[in-house]
């Protein structure tokens, strides 16, 4: 038998000197407050977290390998299942990558439909975040309000694509079908309801004494550290780094739309929370403009039924609700990609978790994890 290389000695996990008994406590994958099937092991010194180990992979489906065996239109359905809270945004990145490789021009109407749906999906995703974040802290009511509003968005999605969540609606070169006739009216009335809904939750939660006590100054990330860890999205912007793919590298029709990007300064959980509230409001503004600018026209360029991008490599990324979602596509000129690598923002945002947890109370663990807003479908792929 060949000699195995010497195993490194495991690092001492507990580094305190009081000599008392520490407790390793297992949180997840069946804990009510770990989002999805995430598992943490926490070393506790009474209620303080001394060390943390995170385990992922409970939802691993081998997506990236599956991509290599499917034609591109089938991959779209797999992308729906990555970040299952913001399906349209995922689909968009994939079709953008393929279109970039094939140098396709997408009709304006299709682009507007995509942007509207993506921004609505961003609102839906942030609503889920706000609700579950409050739930992590024991506030039951906001989650009911936000899920009510999210359901209205999903109803519109259903009218458009035929499915509440797994839409399979975007196509290489356009979208599957045109939107319903009264789409603008529906969207406008929906936006009014969403505005009221977001205001309602904002008033109920954001500035409440207990809520602020629980979130202010918890898990502070400064801008440098955030960049070092490769954080993107709200987690990065809350730390004061002004980076938003929609602005820095505008894709689709974002350069024709006027909107602001909320940037935090404190970098704590409250900033990460409130930033998403403001972002949802900005998305409403974006959708309003897009609805006004949208004109009738074709929704699909002419593409072969089975798309065959030329040989080459391409990188496409977009601002997902959770951060910078990117796709690196290597094509050999066949019907399936040679390699399709996904950069999942949730996975990258999860990286500083151990550093953030250490020194906080066990009750903060769920708040910190919640504020990073991960989706396990995307982390595990």
């Amino acid at each position: 038998m060949p000699e195995l290389p010497a195993q490194p000695t495991p690092p001492t996990r507990i580094d305190n000197d009081h000599g008392g008994t520490d407790m390793w406590i297992n949180m997840g994958p069946q804990h009510p407050a770990t989002h999805g099937v995430f598992r943490m092991e926490l070393a506790l010194d009474s209620e303080l977290i001394v060390d943390a180990i995170s385990h992922i992979g409970y939802l691993h489906r081998g997506s990236e390998r599956l991509f290599e065996n499917e034609i591109y239109s089938q991959i779209i359905t797999l992308f729906d299942r990555l970040d299952y809270v913001s399906n349209f945004n995922n689909e968009l990145v994939l079709v953008m990558a393929v279109e970039k490789l094939m140098s396709l021009e997408v009709p304006d109407r299709a682009e507007y439909i995509r942007v509207i749906l993506c921004e609505l999906n961003r609102i839906a995703s942030h609503l889920v975040f706000i609700g579950t974040f409050a739930l992590d802290m024991g506030a039951l009511t906001p989650s009911l309000y936000t899920f009510r509003d999210r359901e209205k968005i999903l109803a519109l999605f259903e009218a458009t694509s035929g499915a509440r969540m797994m839409h399979n609606y975007f196509r290489v070169g356009g979208v599957k079908q045109d939107v319903v006739d009264d789409f603008p009216q529906r969207v406008n009335s929906l936006l009014g309801e969403l505005e009221r809904g977001i205001d309602e939750v904002d008033q109920l939660l954001s500035h409440g004494e207990v809520f602020v006590e629980r979130t202010r100054g918890i898990a502070v990330i400064d801008g440098e550290t955030a960049l070092d860890w490769g954080l993107t999205g709200a987690c990065l912007r809350a730390s004061g780094v002004a980076y938003d793919v929609r602005v820095d590298e505008p894709y689709s029709v974002y350069d024709r739309l006027d909107f602001a990007v909320p940037i935090g300064t404190a970098g704590d959980t409250w900033d990460r929370y409130y930033l998403r509230v403001l972002e949802a409001r900005q998305s409403i503004i974006i959708v309003r403009q897009a609805i006004q600018q949208m004109e009738p026209g074709p929704i699909q360029t002419k593409v072969r039924a089975i798309a065959r991008p030329p040989k080459g490599e391409v990188y496409a990324h977009a601002e997902n609700p959770r951060g910078d979602f990117a796709v690196y596509l290597v094509s050999e000129g066949g019907e399936s990609p040679y390699r399709l690598k996904v950069r999942p923002p949730s996975f990258c945002n999860l990286m500083p978790l151990r550093d953030l947890l250490i020194g906080h109370y066990v009750a903060d663990a769920v708040v910190i994890l919640g504020s990073l807003d991960i989706v396990l479908g995307e982390v595990d792929r």
Partner: protein, 418 residues
């Protein structure tokens, strides 16, 4: 008196049985009340399928719990594990023995009723700690320790406020708190008013607020529900219990909820005494049982209002963290409760008029609230998140500029966006 008094035993057993049945019914109504009220706060319908308006839902729940398998973790200590729920339930029930529902309607009147109530209700902590410890689950241990720390700390303000009440009526009998008390010193007879005319909440607003908050913490209800917080310690001490034993914990919890609300009403909101005598409202003379029935109804009405307040809190607030909870208890509530006690003692000793109490304590309460709000203002700097605007760079790219930049005015003047 060497002979065993069978009549006494029979009456006591009957009384206890009646009390338990009454309390169990109240608990059933409370679960329905809580679920329905939370549902309305959350824009849901709540229980609606079993019976009219879901009124039979609690009964169905009881049957479900009784039919469930009673699981015990293998490594737990059997006898202690099964006895813990009983240790929680028994004190929660025994407290009720001395609580009067109306003048004379009490199972066992006691001269030291207030002391008894405070002493017995503390015993429940032992059961919670034992449940947490014997479950052989780490979450249960955490929950049990949390419960012990929390309940012991919040017992203090409750006791101190009760002491102030005892000074006010010069009695520890719960009936005297309502009907008043006469103290005979030599030939001098001093009358201490009960709550016939003025509820003690008007005399001692500070005490009422402290009692309500500390009571809420004592119950482990939102925002103080840290010892069985689902999102942190899953179910705390109750985590490993199921079926009938879990139901016993549940019963004890609602007994306690009812007792804290009832004590709040008894000590501060006039108990069963109507604002003006029922005779003058109905215009006819009433028999004793009628007065009693009206008293009980009025008492229960007020108690349910207070419980409704608890449920309202539950639908509104997130929960505090253990250190914040302890800090709030020891740094704010306990000092305030002592201030309340000392003020009461001074007012009674120098025989100042009783309105001096609210006159001093209301500004005090307002000042505390103001200071807390000031401190909060510094923390809640909502300006920490600002809206950056997009700006074209010279090289054709975009960048985000903070609102303070000169271009923000232009962006605003374009009228788009925010």
């Amino acid at each position: 008196m060497n002979e065993f008094n069978w009549t006494f035993v029979a009456i006591a057993v009957l009384g206890l049985f009646g009390l338990f049945s009454f309390l169990a019914t109240v608990v059933l109504s409370l679960t329905w009340y809580e679920r329905k009220m939370l549902a309305r706060i959350q824009m849901r319908v709540g229980p609606s399928r079993v019976g009219p308006h879901g009124l039979l839902q609690p009964v169905a729940d009881v049957f479900k719990l009784m039919a469930k398998e009673d699981v015990r973790p293998d490594v737990s200590s059997k006898s202690l594990f099964w006895i813990a729920p009983v240790l929680v339930l028994v004190p929660a029930f025994l407290v009720w023995i001395t609580i009067p529902f109306a003048d004379g309607l009490v199972v066992q009147p006691q001269d030291l009723g207030l002391l008894y109530v405070v002493a017995i209700s503390t015993l429940g902590i032992v059961g919670l700690l034992l449940a947490g410890y014997t479950s052989a689950s780490k979450y249960s241990v955490l929950g049990g320790i949390r419960a012990a720390a929390q309940l012991v700390s919040y017992e203090i303000p409750i006791i101190v406020v009760v002491l102030a009440i005892a000074i006010l009526v010069q009695s520890l009998d719960l009936r005297d708190v309502i009907t008043g008390n006469e103290v005979v010193i030599g030939e001098r007879v001093i009358t201490f008013n009960g709550q016939g005319a003025i509820p003690f909440a008007a005399i001692m607003p500070l005490g009422a607020v402290i009692f309500l908050i500390a009571g809420l913490a004592e119950l482990g209800r939102t925002p103080f529900d840290i010892h069985h917080a689902e999102s942190e310690v899953v179910g705390g001490p109750f985590l490993e219990y199921s079926g009938a034993h879990w139901a016993v914990f549940f019963l004890a919890e609602y007994f306690n909820t009812f007792v804290i609300a009832a004590l709040t009403v008894l000590l501060f909101f006039g108990g069963w005494s109507w604002p003006s005598p029922p005779e003058s409202i109905f215009g006819t003379a009433l028999e004793e049982w009628q007065t009693d029935a009206l008293g009980v109804a009025w008492f229960l009405f007020k108690t349910y209002l207070v419980i409704g307040l608890f449920f309202w809190f539950r639908g509104t607030y997130p929960r505090l963290r253990i250190d914040q909870l302890m800090a709030f208890g020891w740094q704010i509530l306990i000092p305030l409760s002592f201030v309340n006690l000392i003020l009461m003692a001074i007012v009674m000793f120098y025989e100042w008029p009783l309105w001096a109490m609210p006159a001093i304590s209301v500004p005090l309460l307002a000042a505390t609230a103001y200071l807390a709000a000031r401190r909060n203002d510094r923390k809640v700097n909502t300006g920490s998140v600002t809206l950056y605007r997009r700006q074209k760079r010279a090289d054709g790219g975009n960048e985000l500029v903070p609102p303070a930049a000169a271009t923000y005015e232009e962006a605003g003047a374009r009228g788009a966006g925010n």
